[in-house]
């Protein structure tokens, strides 16, 4: 949409669109989480929950915290982010603090992110300051509602969208974009991208090498019934795909974006008559010393490895090695339904979208 009004954060949250294949359009975000952060803060400001000087709290160590920090700085809110020492590096913490956020990094003896401890600390703050505002990115409907704007951008650029590919962490971006696109394109096939040992789609919890993708707790904003296929991408294929985005398209993105692009390129190749949209949530700068650093890569066991050309289709959900890329036909079922059928080892007789077309 042509707009003549000046709005820095609206522009910053707007992805650049890239054509990765004749039938594949990628939304490459500088900082995707600005979209839900801005929507949630705007709504809270307009219904009176947020006033100048209000104390905002959230448990995050990721880009949602960065997005809220920028908005809080510009709009005069105080911000406290509660995270775990294992989840945040000194540089990112310093960046957040320079913007004006208070960052509390709790001990994490078990190494699982200490989410219960983080929530307890957050509740302590809210108990002391009843006017405080918790953005609740895991559960707030504002998180998924915000992504109507992404659905608009895809429609303005592509018209009809047949397939949507995107990462799942809180579920906001993929489930939000998918549910708005489905209101006008009910046939839309949704491909969710997760990583091994994330619990979101029924895998057992474990150490994840890819940060910013998957989760160890289940947010309400993950709506399994929207998903046709789930792909679990390991760290190595995600890194290789990010390298390829840079080398073949000149697009500098983080590894979670690499994972999404890997799945999307496969979908676009497998379904040449479908118009495919993919969400790429983050830029590569935060990963310059790791994913884009040959010395760091050389320390990885088994690196370099060969990029899988296609996913391995699972009938029983199970974690795989970080070099692996697996896929499971979710078929718009609830998590309970899938887990029950897994327990009974009843393999669904239906076939996936890709096999159907």
């Amino acid at each position: 949409m042509v707009t003549l009004a000046v709005d820095y954060f609206r522009d910053l949250e707007t992805p650049r669109l890239a054509r990765l294949a004749p039938n594949l359009v990628a939304a490459a975000f500088p900082l995707m989480k600005l979209m839900p952060a801005r929507y949630i803060l705007d709504r809270a400001a307009s219904n009176g929950e947020l006033k100048a000087g209000t104390h905002i709290v959230e448990t995050t160590s990721g880009t949602f915290g960065m997005a809220v920090a920028l908005l809080a700085a510009a709009r005069g809110y105080r911000l406290t982010l509660v995270t775990a020492s294992t989840l945040i590096d000194a540089k990112y913490k310093a960046r957040l603090e320079r913007i004006g956020a208070t960052v509390i990094a709790l001990d994490d003896p078990r190494g699982d992110g200490n989410q219960p401890g983080r929530l307890e600390r957050l509740q302590d703050i809210l108990a002391k300051e009843p006017d405080g505002f918790w953005t609740r990115q895991y559960d707030s409907p504002g998180n998924w509602l915000a992504y109507a704007r992404l659905a608009e951008l895809f429609i303005r650029a592509m018209g009809k969208v047949d397939c949507l590919v995107g990462c799942v962490g809180t579920g906001g971006s993929l489930c939000g974009t998918a549910s708005f696109l489905r209101t006008v394109f009910p046939h839309l096939t949704v491909f969710a991208v997760d990583t091994h040992c994330s619990i979101l789609f029924g895998q057992p919890v474990g150490k994840r090498m890819l940060r910013g993708l998957g989760n160890s707790v289940l947010p309400k904003n993950v709506r399994h019934e929207l998903v046709d296929e789930i792909h679990w991408v390991g760290a190595y294929p995600a890194y290789l795909s990010a390298h390829r985005l840079l080398r073949e398209h000149g697009i500098f993105m983080g590894p979670t974006s690499g994972a999404a692009a890997l799945v999307a390129q496969w979908v676009a190749k497998t379904l040449p008559d479908a118009q495919v949209a993919v969400i790429m949530p983050d830029e590569g700068h935060r990963h310059a010393e790791t994913v884009y650093n040959d010395d760091w890569l050389a320390t990885l066991p088994g690196w370099p490895c060969k990029q899988p050309s296609e996913p391995r289709t699972l009938t029983t959900i199970a974690p795989a090695a970080e070099t692996q890329w697996t896929r499971f036909l979710w078929l718009r079922r609830s998590l309970d339904d899938v887990l029950k059928s897994q327990a009974a080892s009843a393999v669904p007789s239906a076939i996936g979208a890709v096999e159907n077309l």
Partner: protein, 312 residues
């Protein structure tokens, strides 16, 4: 409202007669709440014009102060004529005569067509060409809520209670065939007696998606995308001003391969949208009309939109 030039008042145009016309519409393709550039929300709509039905107005200036209107119950048209004279900084009055083929009370926009035709007739009598945006604002001033018929077939997202354009889609709607009919037994609706719909957050966000779809449909002249937007807006409208038989109509539309279902969001009209250039259209439209009649709906009519003389 800004004046349109003081030089008019110095001209002696007392003897001139002007005529103006305005077309009807078939309700809206989409109607809801939309964000402007600054993020503020406005009620807005995209009108579906029907050029075969029209209102025609003649305005003859007189020396007296009064604006006399025929037929005399068309008070909004009379007030539009007065507002237009004031806008053009002209003293005196005139005789306004209206002749309209547009049925009243179903969502065809008979009232706005009268108002817009009257504004145009007054302007013509004064030998002034008004911009559509000025006509739109005058129309809203005359009747509180208006539609976008001042823009004719040009597609705009119009704030019907403010008289402003939220988004100009920079083109016309694609050529369409519309199979129109009346719901709820054809009982007329008094638009201004309806409370404005209260939309929830998810609906407000969805309206942005529908607006994007209309923008793309106008840009590529794609009736299918337009139909999808109309169907989704009609579905939201069902939650606020339900029309009897909606599900049955949606099913008929699906089986007939229509681009979409369209409604007058504050009227009784239903429409099935078809691509005017689709194959076998005449036979398909006849079949659909028959199915709609059999389902108990009345007054099934076929309208062409932006057909440019196409005979089918």
């Amino acid at each position: 409202m800004a004046g349109a030039g003081d030089f008019m008042s110095r001209e002696t145009l007392r003897s001139s007669i002007g005529t103006g016309a305005a077309i009807a519409h078939h309700g809206e393709l989409i109607q809801g709440v939309f964000k402007d550039d600054g993020g503020r929300l406005h009620r807005g709509l995209v009108t579906l014009p029907v050029a075969s039905l029209r209102s025609e107005a003649t305005f003859a200036r007189t020396d007296g102060d009064a604006v006399i209107v025929h037929p005399d119950h068309k008070v909004k048209a009379s007030s539009a004529a007065r507002l237009t004279l004031d806008f053009l900084k002209v003293t005196g009055g005139g005789v306004l005569t209206l002749q309209s083929s547009i049925p009243v009370g179903h969502g065809y926009g008979s009232s706005t067509a009268d108002v817009v035709a009257s504004i145009r007739a007054v302007a013509a009598a004064l030998k002034v060409q008004l911009r559509p945006s000025s006509i739109g604002r005058l129309a809203v001033a005359a009747e509180r809520a208006s539609d976008a018929i001042a823009f004719d077939e040009h597609a705009v997202l119009f704030a019907q209670r403010e008289g402003t354009v939220i988004e100009n889609f920079r083109g016309s709607l694609p050529p369409l065939l519309l199979v129109g009919f009346k719901a709820n037994g054809g009982v007329p609706v008094d638009t201004l007696q309806l409370p404005p719909a209260r939309y929830d957050s998810a609906e407000i966000q969805e309206f942005g998606v529908l607006r994007a779809l209309v923008a793309r449909a106008v840009y590529l002249q794609d009736p299918n995308l337009l139909g999808r937007a109309a169907s989704a807006s009609a579905l939201i409208s069902q939650r606020h001003l339900p029309k009897q038989g909606f599900d049955e109509i949606a099913e008929i539309a699906r089986r007939a391969g229509a681009c979409g279902v369209q409604v007058a969001h504050s009227g009784s009209l239903f429409g099935l949208i078809f691509d005017l250039f689709a194959s076998n259209l005449k036979r398909r439209a006849a079949l659909v009309a028959q199915q709609i009649r059999r389902a108990g709906f009345k007054e099934v009519e076929v309208h062409l939109v932006n057909a440019e003389g196409w005979t089918w």
